[in-house]
Amino acid sequence: MSNPDKPIEIEGGVVKMVDPAAHSVSAATAKPEAATRRHAPEEPPPAHLYEKQKTVHNQRIDGRFRRFKWAVMILTLAVYYITPWIRWDRGPYAPDQAVLVDLAGRRFYMFGIEIWPHEFYFVAGLLIMAGIGLFLVTSAVGRAWCGYACPQTVWTDLFQHIDRLVDGDRNARIRLDAAPWGPSKIARRALKWTIYLVISFWTGGAWIMYFADAPTLTADFWTGQAAPVAYTTVAILTLTTFVLGGFMREQVCIYMCPWPRIQTAMLDEKSLIVTYKDWRGEPRGSLKKARKEPEKFGDCIDCKQCIAVCPTGIDIREGPQIGCITCALCIDACDRVMADIGKPRGLIDYATLEDCEKEAAGEEPRPVWKALLRPRTIAYTMIWGSIGLAILFALGVRNHTEISASPDRNPPFMLMSDGSIRNAFTLKVRNMESRPRDMQIGLEGLPGAVMWTGEIGRGDAAVTQVIKAQADQTKTIRAYVMAPADTPVTDFRFTVTSLDEQRETDTSETRFSAPGDN
């Protein structure tokens, strides 16, 4: 066991108190639960039921994965902060914000696509795609979501850069943490937390921009005219960003988030994970010792750089664990050290467990990209792509004109003074185009029947009526359908035709009720 403060030895699963110096257990056998071990205070023996969070002071590192992480971070933050400000012209009857979730108007706008509430299956499809996308990513590149794209990771990363900017690198931060509170420490903490707070506020502020016209809302927000829910949302998101990004950090990944558990279940021996190649590194020893007796030591010089740069503060050499978000910064750190001491890179590297076993057995290492080509990954890609294509197809062919009819149930029919029978219906005519349109509604399959509406009087009763539908609205119409006396109960249809160049049509099946048969 790598914890030197554990004066125990396990023999046949039973603890015996022993001298700390004699303590040694193979680290490579560690299980995911091992992540919690790093919180152990050095001295004295800890409390029984709870353990203190140990602040992670991760060291600056540069390398290809760090640069990739920078790129993803800049991209995701830019998308998050800038998207609501992109304009998109939809004509005079619809908002000009490219991405807008209009909760009050029950519309979701995304560039050229507008989703109505009854089309929520598109959003459901997107969510399913997001879910399968995560499966796909997990099966191909392991916990890449955790390592690069998860908001918790991105904001934690951002805040750790603030730490570095204000307090200096790892060693300076450790010293400052241990230092007693004085004017300098208070000033630094105040500055750092102020920067946290500004970023957090900006994060919360950006969120609400997705739900209203961004320029208007910004003006309203600062003049105190925005809705109370806007202020509440910003306050909550500011607080959560401040606490989760500034202080909780890796605790969120280890204790709060279900995703690491789910991903742990989805990983298998063919998944790419960040792995310490223990057959190559062990037994570890300092460079001095290793140079003296090269045949006795592996490549790991126990410099602990991989621990120093880790944003969640784990030791990757203990093996795969729940605290590892696979951000690969330890690969960058280890590669630099290997270059310095003249050993090949990749002592810590992306690899599958299966490849590791083969490599340990002496086979040639397989190129990493080959790990991506496996039936599971390909199947996920196919499913993911098919859902995407199906959504696109459905979006392309969807109708922007719809009608639905609901007959009055009480009374189901009514006798008129001339003996004819009248049924009343509530029609909903949807005009899903961002312009007003004339619509022709008509009756089909009900001989001799005429209709009028609440607005068009009985004097103008006819088989078809033309109504005006507002842009992007559902028009509710009271429709009265009158059929000659002795008309039996009949199934018939309401039709709607848009009177523009598209001539979209839709029908709604319903029933004409009549005396004698209910």
């Binding site: 299980k31 919690t36 919180h39 800890p46 039921l49």
Partner: protein, 308 residues
């Protein structure tokens, strides 16, 4: 690891954590320590609860619960919501009070609000007799308000008048009133059958006959009209249409001749405020059988979109 293993306790070898002692199919539970902040969060919820109990109604006592120093109650919330809603409706009610009911059709928005308000008032005050769908009840003699047959007139003014003064309402001089005299003992069986046939012939349910026509002309035509068309001014029902308030079978018609039933509609003036009555009139008018007020033509700006 926060948990210092007890001597003699079994531990999980890779993690060095003690076992709790629970085991399911070979999977054992480890006594992994909770993070410290977790327990602080728990304490925080206790503090929250304590503060909540002081501020809000919480503890049940013998008579009633504690009230909390903020004085909050769900009834109070409702009262606040209700008065806010009343306030929001105030301008609409003022507009409606000022406008003549027949001019409402020029103001579709106000009309729409009046219909909605009338629908709500109808559910409270009218459905007991006229039914929730306003279709009335033939057996009980409550008129259908949604058809195109009106005893006293189906334009907005007429409906409002009926609502205000009622029908056969005692103690109101202006109430609508009509009497169908009972003919029990007046006709022989033959005469009764003849007059019944004649009445039914208006709507082609039977063939007319000279005796019936003569009796009708002498006894009925003054109110119901020579061709049974009725007379709204007197509230005399139209006998030639398909709608029969008390039924269209021979027995039902004869019963109505011999011992007529005459319904009563209470006056709502004094029980409902004028604006609510106006809204009810607009709602009833909107049910599908409403007629236009003919006098409205004097105002050239008004172009009724509905013809009777």
């Amino acid at each position: 690891m926060a948990n210092k293993p007890t001597e003699g306790q079994r531990v999980d070898e890779p993690t060095g954590t003690e076992f709790v002692g629970h085991e399911w199919d070979g999977i054992e539970e480890l006594d992994t320590p909770m993070p410290r902040w977790w327990v602080w969060t728990f304490y925080l919820t206790i503090v929250w609860a304590a503060v909540y109990v002081v501020l809000y109604p919480a503890l049940p006592m013998l008579e009633k619960g504690t009230e909390g120093i903020l004085g909050w109650s769900s009834r109070g919330d409702l009262a606040k919501d209700m008065s806010a809603a009343d306030l929001a409706q105030q301008s609409f009610r003022e507009q409606l009070a000022a406008i003549d009911v027949v001019k409402l059709q020029d103001n579709p928005q106000l009309m729409q609000q009046a219909v909605a308000g009338g629908a709500a008032a109808f559910k409270v005050n009218c459905v007991q007799c006229h039914g929730s769908g306003a279709a009335g009840s033939q057996g009980l003699g409550y008129p259908n308000l949604a058809d195109d047959d009106w005893l006293w007139g189906g334009d907005l003014q007429a409906i409002e008048y009926t609502l205000i003064h009622g029908i056969r309402q005692q103690g109101d001089d202006q109430t609508r009133s009509s009497i169908m005299p009972p003919f029990a003992g007046v006709f022989s069986d033959e005469e009764l059958n003849a007059i019944t046939d004649h009445v039914m012939s208006f709507s082609k349910m039977a063939n007319s006959n000279p005796l019936g026509a003569e009796i009708y002309a002498n006894n009925c035509a003054s109110c119901h009209g020579a061709n049974g068309m009725g007379d709204r001014a007197q509230g005399a029902p139209n006998l030639s249409d398909a709608i029969w308030l008390y039924g269209n079978s021979r027995a039902q018609i004869q019963s109505q001749i011999l011992a007529p039933r005459m319904g009563m509609m209470p006056k709502w003036e004094g029980r409902l405020d004028p604006v609510t009555i106006k809204m009810l009139a607009v709602y009833v008018h909107s049910l599908g059988g409403g007629e236009d007020v003919m006098e409205v033509a004097e105002d050239p700006a008004v172009n009724p979109d509905e013809q009777p």
